[in-house]
Symmetry: C2
Amino acid sequence: MMERIGSTTIWEGVVARVRIDEFRYPDGSTSRREVVGHPGAVAVVAYDERSLYLVRQPREAVGEDALLELPAGKLDVPGESPVDCAKRELAEEVGKAASGWRELKRFYTSPGFAEEEVIVYLATGLEEAHAQSDEEERLEVVVWPLEELDAAIDACADAKSLIGLLLFRELRREEGA
Amino acid sequence: MMERIGSTTIWEGVVARVRIDEFRYPDGSTSRREVVGHPGAVAVVAYDERSLYLVRQPREAVGEDALLELPAGKLDVPGESPVDCAKRELAEEVGKAASGWRELKRFYTSPGFAEEEVIVYLATGLEEAHAQSDEEERLEVVVWPLEELDAAIDACADAKSLIGLLLFRELRREEGA
């Protein structure tokens, strides 16, 4: 097993942290790696009989005015479980609560340099929630017709959202929808 | 349209670079964002009648000894086009050349904080190439049976590879494979 034998934070900003970690491999050799730290994140495929609940928001890092994505957020509240984070984000971003929660997949967004792991959930049994947050002033809720799921996949350029939508399409096919 | 009106590099390592970019939105308001720079990357779904050509490698950033992934690499050679980068990576990582190249999808791996965009290609008409690199000493080639594609998707925890494999499964279904 590879082992982490050292870690030094070399830069810390408001959002990003960069570490140099040192590793020892099973053959005894070692290496140093720059790692961009991340607390992890969750994303939610939320749907009812007619619609998927998506969002559009500016993504400054990639120069996009309005990237189509699943409701999502970072695990940045100490002590909050991933599924509770997903519930909070779904309420804050699209104003919905859900009675059914199921984990669809866990994955790393860019394991070559970033620590981020995302858990994608499926949320069903939706009802109105009144927790929309003022923080997300540039976020637009997109009620996307379920019958146009293929078009959402074509339009989506965000990795976590693509994975959620592709796995959701698969599930619906298995269920004969 | 959102506009980038300023950019300052605040930390630069061997791999990662962090900038503070300033943006102006259509309503005239502005914001500053930390952005982890990235040159972009390519990944390749390479297959023949029997097999998919995957790799396993340690991913120190996420503490994984042997993450299952598509052959892939960063766009870090000045002047090299994305498809040429994909050809080089396929040769270096799994020792294959391909006569057919098709772009499957472009997406951002983590647009909330990182600039990285990945292009996933489908590569067909494989033959042996002799360009395997010594740099990738901890990389293992995995010849994965095509009929066990579902198991590769289940085993995969890397976003770019998941997207490539999910879209490939879809294509094969459309082609009646």
